[in-house]
């Protein structure tokens, strides 16, 4: 047996804080991220997702046609996840991505200016209001972007890219710090 023991540590634990009055970058707690994929022909399962997520205060984020993320700050117990996945069937399938993806928050009055250096998505509040999500390139890294408050965005990125994206965002933010 190998002596190697994988240690679970937050992907962005070693990153230095990036914060000023105009912009703040922070790693979000590595709680729960569930990827939901609807079966073909089952495009409108939003009411089902809302009914499952809302009572537990989980957020539902659209990803692409027939796909969503269910997001929660806290880790979800195995039992709760199992029953949630069971409730999705047979219309959709859930996949636990809690350790596979990492969330980053970027906020402040210069947050959208900094993000606009990396993505072509129009981040004006009229085109990208609170609750709106988009999957897009930020620089060279694909990420899922959601406006969660008037001046705050949540970014969901694959874990292996999280440090690179953080470093890119930190560099994009330098002039506002």
């Amino acid at each position: 047996m190998s002596d190697f023991r994988p240690i679970l540590r937050p992907a962005l634990a070693t990153k230095k804080a990036v914060a000023s009055a105009a912009l703040k970058l922070s790693p979000l707690p590595e709680g729960t991220i569930l990827h939901v994929l609807a079966r073909s022909g089952e495009q409108d399962i939003v009411p089902l997702l809302d009914s499952l997520a809302k009572p537990a205060a989980h957020a539902v984020r659209p990803v692409s046609p027939g796909q969503w993320f269910i997001v929660h700050e806290e880790p979800m117990h195995h039992k709760e996840m199992k029953s949630l996945f069971a409730a999705l069937e047979p219309r959709a399938t859930g996949v636990d991505q809690s350790h596979g993806r990492v969330r980053i928050r970027i906020e402040g009055k210069m947050a959208s200016r900094a993000l606009s250096k990396g993505t072509a998505v129009d981040l004006d509040p009229s085109a990208f209001p609170i609750g709106q999500s988009a999957v897009t390139l930020i620089g060279h890294i694909a990420a899922h972007l959601t406006r969660v408050a008037p001046e705050a965005f949540e970014i969901i990125v694959l874990r292996g890219f999280a440090e690179s994206l953080w470093d890119d965002l930190a560099r994009m933010s330098l002039e506002y710090i």
Partner: protein, 92 residues
């Protein structure tokens, strides 16, 4: 970021978010002649003007789309989800 490609799901996005797969041709029937398959797999017209292409929105919604594009002007006349195109073809 130069060329913008309209995704039916995501809106205008830079071409860097996409992967181009080439001409959107109609696939021959499974039992078609070898010559038809050879044509489908290897031969392309490379037209000057209107062209239907498969694009994959790799760094976006990850859907295959069919873009009707002018190879001279890059004017995009239409952009559809490949599944919708397949469904409308199956009906005709």
């Amino acid at each position: 970021m130069a060329s913008l490609v309209p995704c039916p799901h995501c809106g205008q996005r830079p071409k860097e978010e996409f992967t181009i797969k080439g001409a959107a041709l109609t696939r021959p029937a499974a039992g078609a002649e070898a010559a038809d398959w050879f044509d489908y797999v290897y031969l392309r017209d490379n037209p000057r003007g209107a062209y239907e292409e498969y694009w994959h929105h790799t760094s976006g919604c990850r859907r295959w789309i069919v873009v009707t594009r002018d190879t001279v002007t890059h004017d995009v006349a239409a952009s559809r989800d490949a599944a919708d195109r397949a469904r409308s073809e199956a009906r005709t």
